[in-house]
Point group: C2
Chain length 118, copies 2
């Protein structure tokens, strides 16, 4: 079974080096050598990660320039974000409940402090 598009995206993102590479590309096009610099990694190791990102459609490599710069391709990231969006009310609800709880704690504390004063 060939993995579906969303699985390929999430799988490509499930690695800290690959996420760091994408973060590096936020600033613009970068050569493979430049990309490899901040990582204690051989060029072939970085190239392997780039291939995973390229296959997932997360980066594009220019065929025009000799140095074949990499740039970010955000389409699959949008699809991943759209998928996550369905769950937003769950984490917002949890934060609301936390807020509510903290509010109650604060009210209780104030009440106790006033009680002591009386």
């Amino acid at each position: 079974m060939s993995p579906d598009r969303l699985s390929t995206t999430f799988s490509a993102l499930a690695d800290p080096t690959r996420r760091a590479i994408l973060a590096r590309l936020i600033a613009g096009e970068v050569s493979v050598t430049e990309l490899a610099e901040p990582f204690a990694m051989s060029l072939p190791a970085v190239s392997k990660h780039l291939k995973v990102l390229e296959r997932a459609g997360l980066i594009k490599r220019s065929r025009e320039a000799q140095w074949r710069p990499c740039r970010l391709a955000a389409g699959p990231l949008k699809d991943a974000a759209d998928w996550l969006e369905h769950y937003r009310h769950f984490w917002e609800e949890s934060l609301d409940r936390l807020d509510e709880y903290l509010g109650e704690l604060q009210a209780q504390e104030q009440e106790e402090r006033h009680g002591r004063k009386d």
Copy 2:
């Protein structure tokens, strides 16, 4: 090297069955038997997926009830969405550029149509 939290989350999401399980839990708590129903899958196979989701902190299994219902835990999904948020301007920019291009095409078409009428 133990995988970081975000990698564990993305890795857990990189499977269509696991994403379908999470989607099923949007409606509320569900038993493992009920979760297994829509999938042409054995209970042990479903349990394996549930373990991955549980280890990633994406679901919680109640220890109170005999049937140990599963429920969604959205915290890691929020972290994943927060990470993707850094890239939003990239896909919004691409959509803006597409809009611009479509607008230009439309203007060109209208111009040609008017040209033909004259």
